[in-house]
């Protein structure tokens, strides 16, 4: 069980090493894009 836990811990470090920090920025970027689109729609609607 100790070996299994050690491997799982090493797995987390491995994941951390292989995942680029930019990946975390992907979801917010999409959210920002969606928010901008929604804002534009609202702006168009209010102008109309």
């Amino acid at each position: 069980m100790i070996i299994f836990s050690l491997l799982m811990g090493s797995g987390l470090i491995f994941y951390h090493l292989l995942t680029p920090p930019t990946e975390k920025a992907v979801a917010p970027t999409n959210m920002v894009t969606k928010a901008k689109r929604k804002f534009r729609i609202n702006e168009v609607q209010s102008n109309a």
């Binding site: 070996i3 299994f4 090493s10 797995g11 994941y15 090493l17 995942t19 990946e23 992907v26």
Partner: protein
Amino acid sequence: MHDSLIVYTFAIFALTTLCILWRPQGINEAIPAISGAILLFIAGIVPLHDIVYIFKIVSGPSITIISTIVMCIVLESIGVFRWAALNVVKRAKGSGIRLFWSIMLLCFLMTVFFNNDGSILITTPIILHIVQIIRIKPQQKLPYLFAGVFIATSASLPIGVSNIANLIGLQMVGLNLVSYTNLAFVPSMIGIATLSLLLYLLFRNEIPRKIPDIQDSISDPTFKSHPLSGVKKTVESMNWPLFRTCIFLVVLIRGSYFILPAYGLSIEWIAITGALLLIGIRWISLKISPVDVLWKAPWHILVFAFGMYVTVYALKNTGVTSYMMSILDGVMTQSLMSASFASGILISVLSNLMNNLPSVMLGTLLITEIGLDTQTLQVAYISMIIGSDIGALLTPLGTLATLLWMFVLKKNGVAITWSAYFRVALMVIPITLVVTLIALNIWLWLIL
């Protein structure tokens, strides 16, 4: 056995080993190995019942390693390692020293979760890419390249499943992965830490203190011409849930090797299941059929390991092991420490003369014939693996992984001569070998 048959066996063994290491016309190493085995079988030196026995010993570990490499191929095809180079440089935050340690960590984990040859094949191009990104002088590339190969190869020591040479003799000496890891994990981690430290001390003047910060490069307009241009677009196109699932599965399968055998499931079946699961997930998620894996999978490993074992077994049948036994008998039975040092140093020497796989095979046959008690037998086996995974690094001839490394470097225009390799290895490998063997003996004294 007749003298002419002994000469014939030695000649076949020498020719087979030479062809495997030299690989004339770039032939696959399995061809000379199986050719040698066929010639020895025809001559009657290795009879049919020995052939069946050898196949039983070799098939399980070979299938495990093939399945592991298949997992590696699947992960590479979905782009799991695509970001490793950029990522490691980013995490170094402009420090060449931090980059040095990050590369060693990456190589260590790659071997722990896959195997040493796969690790070399994946990480060497990554390291070459890293040194290209940070635009350093040729001499400054060496610390990173040597750290990669030495750590990737020695990292197959702690858990035993990362190298076919470690796996083949395991059952013959009555060990399983759990008992192997209990004995070998702590000493081998001390050995790897020593090796890392020695590499750092050796190269500390060559490692650049500061490297270009990759963030600057991304904001740099000239970055567009760089191979990594268009980074953001590809990050967005990456299937991250699939990425996470695959890494989680690889880690889980590795962990299962230490739990499921207790419930009667063999390691090779766990490995096969893991490989099939990854292929299936990729098929469903990305609609990529498994045909590419069938083509890329290193099926020849089974033929190579089988052929090599038959060739070594022929040496045993000629009486080589009995002769070696008469020389080593006294040292091996004297004490646990002497058995450990004798086995470790013997395999280190043999590996650097004729590669570590045949050396470990021959050594295992030797120690099982001496008639040692179970404890000494197992300690001698682990010491042999220390010799095979660390001592064998003294020359590029010692392991197939180092030969692969030289080949990958040459293909990418980085020429490291055998003498340059040996000069570096001589400074770090003998000390690491002795420290690891001492650590093993202290560990045994603590736990037994």
